[in-house]
């Protein structure tokens, strides 16, 4: 057994740490999020269950019932009320967390904007799932992408470990006085929520110490200092308040980096806004976010073994959008594909494609040609072969092949899917090529 014990210790990434109470455990994404919440122990958890994030609420309820959390659960009658109660509780000076997915997040929509516009640092876990119709219970970034302009900071987790780590960091980031904004921590439905993996769980005290106590600035619950929350803004003030939100978002860039670096220093797992993989000498690369980044990295490894100079760039945050970090990684490449697990009907490409392309505009003379590959909607399986095909297309694109479609869904049944260009009668291949600056 000594041999076994020794190799187990190797899993702990910071063996020099004196703190002994961290441990390697097997947890599903939902369970890991619930355990992070147990360790942070927010004051209030208003919640409404929805697949695939139900287990988060169930596990928190179980922790409370067994005396492992002091948190007050408010088991409301809808997601709209969950976010409404979250706003009420946060305005009352409480640290607040909840979880939802898909239609549940859509039902919260109205109040998401109120949470961010009121600068309430609520933490919300999202078990990413496709929006209806057709009703579908599987992984898709449609709901969180749809809310990307709701004023929330957004993290997309690659693994169960990162979902756990992101929840802990989310409190620090959202509550930072330079930021004061709510935070969504996204983890792919089933692919992470229901997958059990080995993760390093920090000790309860370590987490408590890292997150620190919470002091709300303007609480409703100090009768000696009455405050008014949620006043109506005349046109003469509204834009200034939006500017303040923007200032918080911009500051969040450095706060996310700071907190990610400190997390790394303390626990051995550092984080930034983006996660470049084999990008230093890459000629072509795929940009992706969420759990399928792992698959792309695996394909990159295999292709590297065969001598191909390929790379992957994972976006950890979507809000704030890490435009500078992306541009820095992409300049000098020969071709890039942006893989979106969501799409925007009628728009020119899916959300991340639009934003990456926009970020590259100022560098258009040296920017690589980029294409958009939409995958995995409603839980459609992505296969290694799909990723290899995309890299092959990037090779062709790098060689000047103007027939490589710009925007296309991958992994559809039957015949290859028509490209966006083919579905648009007025768009000729020449016009497409011209748009690419060829």
């Amino acid at each position: 057994m000594t041999k076994t014990q020794k190799s187990k210790d190797n899993l702990i990434q910071n063996p020099k740490s004196k703190i002994q109470n961290r441990k390697v455990v097997i947890l599903s994404g939902n369970n890991a999020v619930a355990n992070a919440l147990r360790q942070v122990d927010p004051h209030v958890y208003p919640g409404y269950p929805i697949t695939p994030s139900t287990k988060i609420m169930e596990t928190v309820a179980e922790f409370i019932a067994n005396g492992k959390m002091q948190c007050e659960m408010v088991a409301v009658e809808s997601e709209h009320s969950a976010m409404s109660a979250a706003v009420g509780a946060a305005a009352g000076g409480a640290r607040v967390a909840s979880a939802t997915a898909a239609n549940g997040l859509a039902f919260m929509w109205e109040v998401l904007y109120i949470a961010s516009g009121s600068h309430l640092p609520i933490v919300l876990a999202i078990g990413n799932r496709a929006l209806s119709a057709p009703i579908n219970g599987f992984a898709d970034h449609g709901e969180s992408m749809g809310s990307r302009d709701a004023g929330w900071i957004q993290f997309y987790s690659e693994s169960v470990q990162e979902a756990y780590d992101n929840i802990i960091q989310a409190f620090r980031i959202g509550e930072d006085s330079r930021v004061r904004l709510p935070v969504m921590v996204c983890l792919d439905g089933f692919l992470l929520t229901h997958t059990s993996e080995n993760i390093t769980m920090q000790g309860d005290d370590e987490v408590t110490d890292f997150v620190g106590p919470y002091h709300a600035e303007f609480s409703l619950l100090d009768p000696d200092k009455p405050v008014s929350h949620g006043l109506s803004d005349p046109p003469s003030y509204y834009m200034e308040h939006k500017m303040r939100q923007q200032a918080g978002m911009e500051k969040a860039r450095e706060v996310i980096e700071e907190v990610g670096a400190e997390y790394g220093k303390r626990f051995g797992r550092p984080y930034g806004l983006v996660d470049p993989y084999c990008m230093d000498d890459a000629e072509t690369a795929i940009i992706i976010l969420g759990s399928e980044a792992g698959r792309v990295k695996g394909v990159v490894d295999k292709m590297r073994e065969a001598g191909k100079k390929v790379g992957a760039l994972r976006l950890r945050t979507v809000r704030p959008f890490p435009d500078e970090q992306i541009v820095r990684q992409l300049l000098g490449l020969k071709a890039v594909a942006i893989m979106d697990r969501s799409y925007a009907p009628g728009a020119v490409g899916a959300p991340m494609f639009q934003e990456v392309r926009s970020a590259l505009y100022d560098y258009r003379d040296s920017a690589p040609p980029i294409v958009n590959r939409i995958y995995g909607l409603g839980g459609r399986e992505l296969r290694n072969a799909d990723v290899r095909n995309i890299f092959a297309e990037l090779d062709a694109l790098a060689d000047g092949d103007a027939t490589v479609p710009v925007i296309q869904m991958v992994g559809l049944r039957g015949e290859p899917a028509p490209t966006w260009e083919e579905m648009r009668p007025l768009e000729t291949p020449i016009a497409v090529a011209a748009k690419r600056g060829k």
């Binding site: 004051h43 709209h80 409404s84 008014s228 006043l231 803004d233 005349p234």
Partner: protein, 321 residues
């Protein structure tokens, strides 16, 4: 005895400052002041979107001398249940002083009967220690008088207009929100009117003293939506009670009491006639509609009398202070 209550109220701090922008003759601010002054404890107010909210809190000013939160239209119940949960959570951990705070929500009939019903229902079912007050002016007045499910039969609104083809105005009866609240089995439910302010303050006081959720449904005359004279607001508030259009009663721990018996039950026409929103009824000489409204009122009032049974007050007027 009423004087004691008055004396008490006169010593209370003013929760809502003057200078707000509610219409002249609006009953909502009267209701708010009377309700909050009925408790000595500090209060936190949640406000559904509506007239009261939009006229008392316009950045960078506020009329509220007590802590106040406005979240959205549909969620006053859930919002206040969040604040109340924060209070319990922070007190439990000793992060705020051990000090009694009362929680009260104000919503119009739109925020209570209609868009906010689900949120309110959830909050009542969960039994948060809070008072929910509906100021019921019978339509969406803030946005220019559109019908709600609290709009009475025959009332003209901009979305139930009395036209040349459809002459009746609103063709459906109002929803009985007080009965819906009662169906939640909460410990205190009452219907009241600012026209009988002692009744209102008595009920507000009981509601605040209740452990758990309490619901007050208070009729709130609206000169704008009802097309009435601002000076007549409290006259109309009393007329609604004396015609038995808006009876006053309470249900405390399941025990029903009529708290007001009109000296003389006035015909409903006296309530309809001063209000411009019913003008078309008289212009069209629609006696059938008046008879129907009277019949509805008579039937509902008789139900309440039957329910009160032997406990019908033997003297007319306010009976319980």
């Amino acid at each position: 005895m009423p004087n004691e209550q008055l004396t008490f109220a006169s010593k209370q701090a003013e929760p809502l400052a003057g200078g707000h922008s509610l219409c002249a003759g609006c009953a909502a601010s009267i209701i708010v002041r009377q309700v909050i002054m009925a408790t000595e404890d500090p209060v936190v107010v949640a406000n559904a979107t509506g007239c009261l909210e939009v006229c008392t809190g316009i950045y960078p000013t506020t009329s509220w001398n007590v802590s106040w939160i406005h979240n959205a239209f549909a969620n006053a119940g859930a919002t206040l249940s969040g604040v109340e949960s924060a209070y319990r959570a922070l007190r439990k951990r000793g992060e705020i002083p051990e000090r009694e705070i009362k929680f009260v929500a104000f919503g119009g009939d739109g925020g209570t009967y209609d868009i906010g019903l689900q949120s309110l229902s959830g909050a009542m079912e969960r039994g948060h220690d809070m008072v929910y007050v509906c100021y019921d002016n019978g339509a969406y007045m803030n946005t220019g008088v559109q019908r709600s499910s609290a709009t009475p039969l025959g009332a003209h609104t901009t979305t139930s207009p009395a036209g040349t083809l459809m002459t009746i105005g609103k063709s459906e009866i109002r929803k009985d929100m007080t009965a819906i609240a009662e169906a939640h089995g909460i410990p205190y439910i009452a219907q009241s009117s600012p026209g009988y302010y002692m009744d209102l303050m008595y009920k507000a006081k009981r509601a605040f003293q209740t452990k758990g959720a309490a619901f007050l449904n208070v009729m709130s005359p609206c000169p704008l939506g009802w097309s009435t004279e601002p000076a007549d607001t409290l006259v109309l508030a009393r007329l609604a009670v004396d015609t038995c259009v808006w009876p006053l009663f309470e249900i405390a721990e399941g025990e029903f009491s009529l708290t007001y018996l009109p000296l003389e039950k006035k015909p409903v026409i006296e309530w309809l006639q001063p209000q411009g929103r019913f003008r078309h009824i008289f212009k069209n000489n629609d006696e059938g509609l008046i008879d129907r409204i009277q019949a509805d009122v008579d039937r509902d009032w008789q139900k309440l009398l039957d329910r009160a049974g032997d406990a019908i007050p033997d003297i007319a007027g306010p009976v319980r202070f």
